[in-house]
């Protein structure tokens, strides 16, 4: 895993915040307890919805925390690509194509080597490879008539493979083609803009920021009828503890919301949590956030 230098760029594609670099994705998970939502399809595992891949979609709240704390900056990815690819010079293009060609050739060689290793392993498991080397030795020694009578039958079965393998090695390999995950290269990574655009966040943002600052992980909570489902650690390892809804400080809400949230939370072994931010008392001072957990007491 390559180290990530901060601040790192966050792609803004049509108003959504996406990460494409696997190192950055691991970095925010480890160092900023931000896990986002993987929304992409994993190549070769594209017929299931349990494990998803790159890109990682960040909630606006997550992007906001990262930008506010100076870990990241937002850039307009569509604009960067439009400039980078529609105006690409012939020289840059051919250079990049040559580089991709090399990677494709390298890949083709790897694939062939793996295939050879596999067949060699399979042969060894059946005890044929040994027979093959014995055969070579016996050829060198110009034979004693019967080089192991028991292996003789299958030995004939494996002989046609040998010349075939050699023929592939001699031929120029058909190139493989690679679709890279990120656009760097050929583009240069976006530079940090002088003015930081903060992502727009919904009004429940304070409770998210508060829980994130305490080391909790958050996922979008619509499935559980709340704003965030809050995890005590990495969701890879832990179950979520809180179904969290952010409110306004003096906001009145329906008693039924407590019943609904509390019932649902208790039935899925989680706790319903509501929280709000106290209005700023002085200019520029961040308000205090208070949170309350609600559980069926089960008396």
């Amino acid at each position: 895993m390559a180290p990530v230098t901060e601040p790192f760029p966050i792609s803004n594609v049509a108003g959504r915040y996406l990460l494409f670099d696997v190192d950055v994705i691991s970095h925010v998970r480890r160092n900023h307890n931000i896990c986002g939502v993987l929304i992409g399809t994993i190549p070769n595992l594209s017929q299931q919805n349990v494990f998803l891949g790159i890109p990682l979609q960040l909630m606006p709240e997550e992007a906001r925390v990262l930008v506010e704390q100076g870990h990241a900056y937002i850039f307009d990815d569509a604009q960067a690509h439009m400039q980078g690819f529609f105006g690409m010079s012939r020289k840059d293009r051919l250079e990049f194509l040559r580089m991709m060609d090399e990677r494709g050739q390298q890949r083709a060689r790897d694939v062939r080597r793996k295939a050879e290793e596999r067949s060699e392993k399979a042969l060894r498991e059946k005890g044929l490879l040994q027979a093959r080397t014995e055969q070579k030795e016996s050829e060198a020694l110009v034979a004693e008539g019967d080089p192991g009578t028991d292996a003789g039958g299958s030995l004939f079965g494996s002989t046609p493979q040998l010349p075939a393998n050699r023929r592939v090695a001699d031929k120029k390999l058909a190139p493989h083609f690679i679709t890279p995950t990120t656009s760097y290269p050929p583009l240069a990574p976006p530079s940090q803009p002088s003015t930081l655009a903060l992502p727009e966040v919904p009004r429940q943002y304070p409770i998210y920021r508060y829980m994130q600052s305490k080391g909790y992980f958050a996922m979008p909570g619509l499935r559980f009828g709340c704003h965030y489902s809050i995890y005590p650690g990495d969701p890879l390892r832990f179950h979520s503890h809180f179904l969290t809804t952010g409110l306004g400080w003096d906001e009145e809400f329906e008693l039924l919301d407590i019943v609904g949230g509390g019932r649902l939370g208790t039935s899925v072994k989680k706790t319903y949590l509501i929280g709000a931010e106290e209005p700023e008392k002085e200019e520029g001072e961040e308000g205090k956030v208070r949170a309350f957990s609600i559980e069926w007491a089960g008396m």
């Binding site: 992409g40 299931q48 293009r93 083709a108 995950t181 656009s183």
Partner: protein
């Protein structure tokens, strides 16, 4: 290489019951560790619940988390490689924000793309999904004014990265007047990964969908012998004095006048006073046409069918509207009415159980509500309570207690009083 992942469906095995949805929770990527393109035969996906409640700062827990993270990192680093045999070469078309493939020789084109001559044109979501699943090698167009000799080969274009594909097919979409949003793509890709066949409904270039008028033939009256129907009608007319009660009469007289009644049904029919919406009547729109109205059907979804042909796909199995949970709240009655008006009149089958009939509804639609990349699917149906008259149920039908009536969707813990 791209098609070998079909084996992944085997992973489901028998240990995934209908009630648990594994995608509800973040699953441990370590289970994918041994999973390469060549070795998917004997693996099964993990059962849920193999996680800890909270951190207890032990080395064991740390090392397990570290292993999970490493596995995740490893899986996310897989690159998309196109072998020489399965190489689908596409070209991006900036004017329409679509892609085209001049040499479409793949199974994928049975369910995506539109043919124009020998070229297949891909809509943004189709192109993006093919790139994302590692099936298509898409290229950026080459600037023409560079003094190259002759026509430029597609292969001369720069390969489009996954990031580039998102930036183009979703980021440029607004610039060409396209309607595809990230939420719609999330739903599209999720359904495609589940194996459904998904197409856009219509062209998306309208302010609202078309009214779907029910055909005048009532399927209920089509059944049975004409002879029986005729005499049944005469008999009914003879026995029931007046099924229709003039509104004026209700002010004065009793609802059920003294007289001769031969069955309870006749009396019940007279007691039917509450007016209800006639579902056979032609629907009308309530709201003015508005192209920003999110409550519209965007995808036609078909179940997997090996004989599926995109030229003759027939009526879809499901209709899906995509809603962004962050921007849209529950639909109003008017919005629902207009949404239903664009879905066809789809009566439940006559032999269904009463509860299933009510659940199926006379018109229905699925709302895909997307909260930051996580879709939830909600089915909304127009339940025909007034058409399912309880007093008309024949006795022997009532005795037939179907198997499917047990699980009525009520919580299992009902009455436990937690």
């Amino acid at each position: 290489m791209a098609d070998e992942d079909e084996d992944a469906s085997l992973l489901w095995g028998n240990n995934v019951s209908e009630e648990t949805d594994l995608s509800d929770e973040t699953q441990d990527f370590r289970f994918l560790n041994n999973l390469t393109a060549h070795d998917t035969g004997n693996l099964s996906l993990p059962k849920r619940g193999e996680k800890d409640f909270e951190s207890h700062a032990t080395n064991l827990q740390h090392s397990m988390l570290e292993a999970s993270r490493q596995a995740m990192h490893g899986v996310l680093s897989w690159t998309r490689v196109h072998g020489p045999k399965q190489h689908i070469l596409g070209m991006y078309h900036p004017m329409s924000n679509m892609a085209f493939v001049t040499n479409p020789k793949s199974q994928h084109f049975r369910t995506v793309g539109r043919a124009k001559g020998s070229t297949q044109w891909l809509l943004p979501e189709e192109a993006l999904f093919l790139i994302e699943r590692g099936s298509m090698d898409c290229r950026w167009p080459v600037k023409e004014d560079e003094g190259d000799d002759g026509p430029i080969d597609t292969q001369e274009g720069v390969p489009m990265s996954l990031q580039g594909a998102y930036a183009a097919f979703l980021g440029f979409e607004g610039g060409v007047g396209g309607k595809l949003t990230q939420e719609m793509y999330t739903v599209y890709a999720g359904l495609k990964r589940s194996g459904y066949i998904v197409f856009r409904m219509g062209t998306w270039n309208y302010e609202r969908g078309e009214l779907q008028v029910p055909s005048l033939e009532n399927p209920a009256t089509k059944e049975g012998n004409w002879f029986l129907r005729l005499f049944g009608g005469i008999w009914r007319r003879l026995t029931q004095a007046s099924t229709e009660m003039p509104a004026k009469q209700l002010y004065f007289g009793p609802v059920v006048k003294p007289g001769l009644y031969r069955s309870y049904s006749d009396i019940y029919r007279l007691l039917q006073l509450t007016p209800f919406h006639d579902r056979m009547a032609a629907p009308t729109f309530i709201l003015p046409p508005d192209h920003t109205n999110p409550f519209r059907v965007v995808f036609d979804v078909y179940k997997t069918d090996p004989k599926f042909k995109k030229s003759a796909c027939g009526p879809p199995d499901f209709r899906i509207a995509v809603i962004n949970a962050r921007e849209t709240s529950m639909p109003t009655a008017a919005q629902l009415n207009d949404l239903f008006a664009t879905t066809p009149y789809d009566l439940p089958k006559q032999n269904m159980q009463l509860y299933q009939k009510l659940k199926h509804g006379s018109r229905n639609v699925i709302l895909a509500v997307v909260d930051n990349g996580i879709p939830s699917y909600i089915r909304i149906a127009d339940s025909p309570f007034a058409e399912e008259k309880l007093y008309e149920r024949s006795v022997h039908q009532g005795n037939k207690r179907g198997k499917g009536r047990g699980g009525r969707g009520r919580g299992k813990g009902r009455g436990r009083g937690r």
